[in-house]
């Protein structure tokens, strides 16, 4: 039987255990399982590792619990902005995007940069213009901002500015 596997993370941080409720823990675990299932579904059918990592990341970008896509952190101006990358171990091709604000799934844009762009790292409005040219789905900035992140931004503005976390 041929080997296949997927592994994921959704952020490392130093937190007090009492700050994470049992309900939150359950939601995190469910979100991780959903992402693994999406990647596994690709691999089981003989799909590529590239397709599997995109499927898993897309699930997590769409999950407001994780710091990517919906639920992303807010910058000093209270805005979301996203970075993403993908790399193919077979041929060392890669695609990266940075500081993008309007693309629903940044990982999909990184993938098309890798496959269809003559550069391998695009940022800001140029990356978004490329997303438009490739027919990727765009969303308004409000799509990505959750009530929880907005509240946290208001409460922790100065502390976060000083220490921060990706």
């Amino acid at each position: 039987m041929k080997k296949f596997a997927i592994a994921i993370h959704a952020g490392a941080e130093t937190v007090k255990r009492e700050d994470i409720s049992k309900e939150q823990e359950t939601q995190y675990r469910e979100g991780l399982q959903e992402a693994l299932a999406a990647g596994n579904a690709v691999l089981e059918k003989g799909g590529s590792a590239l397709d599997a990592v995109v499927a898993a990341i897309e699930k997590m970008e769409n999950n407001p619990l994780f710091n990517a896509g919906i639920g992303g952190n807010l910058n000093i101006h209270g805005e979301t902005a996203f970075d993403a990358a993908i790399m193919d171990g077979k041929n060392l091709k890669s695609g990266s995007v940075g500081s993008i604000r309007y693309v629903k799934n940044p990982i999909k844009l990184a993938r098309v940069v890798m496959e269809k762009c003559r550069h391998n790292f695009m940022v800001d409005t140029g990356a978004e213009e490329f997303a438009l040219s490739q027919g990727l789905e765009l969303k308004p900035p409000s799509h990505f901002v959750t009530e929880e992140k907005l509240k946290s931004w208001h409460q922790n503005y100065y502390d976060d500015y000083l220490k921060g976390h990706d």
Partner: protein, 136 residues
């Protein structure tokens, strides 16, 4: 930050990382995630790696490529390489870091210096295993 590494049935590895950055980061600040070799790296047959944590430290440590280098050039096993990459420059690169890595032999490694890293894996389509805390 979220990340994924995968091995397909043809033996190919891939890595991907996506992030919303830091709370209250300056506008225009880029993270390690899109920097190949820092937050993301894949190279058959050695490993695929995705990182998370304090981006500025991960960039300076070129963390994802460090795992690859330790496997390829120092002959370390994947778990040892992953742990060394996170801990070996502690005095110079002080900050929260975590990573997931995978090789062509279907070995998965997690390494982190925090008390929590949301993580999980599945081998050969088996039921996924997920964990949050450092003692799981």
């Amino acid at each position: 930050t979220v990340g994924a590494v995968a091995l397909d049935q043809n033996g190919n590895l891939a890595a991907a990382t996506s992030t919303g950055g830091l709370n209250s980061q300056l506008k225009g600040r880029l993270s390690d995630s899109p920097l190949i070799g820092a937050g993301t790296y894949a190279n058959n047959p050695y490993c695929a790696v995705s990182c998370t944590g304090k981006g500025e430290v991960i960039m300076r440590g070129v963390l994802a490529h460090e795992v690859y280098a330790l496997v390829k050039y120092a002959g370390e096993g994947l778990q040892t390489a992953s742990e060394k990459a996170v801990t070996m420059h502690k005095a110079l690169l002080d900050g929260d870091m975590g990573l997931v890595s995978l090789n062509q032999q279907q070995e998965v490694a997690f390494a982190f210096n925090t008390n929590m890293m949301k993580r999980g894996y599945s081998l050969g389509g088996a039921a996924p295993l997920v964990a949050l805390w450092d003692n799981e």
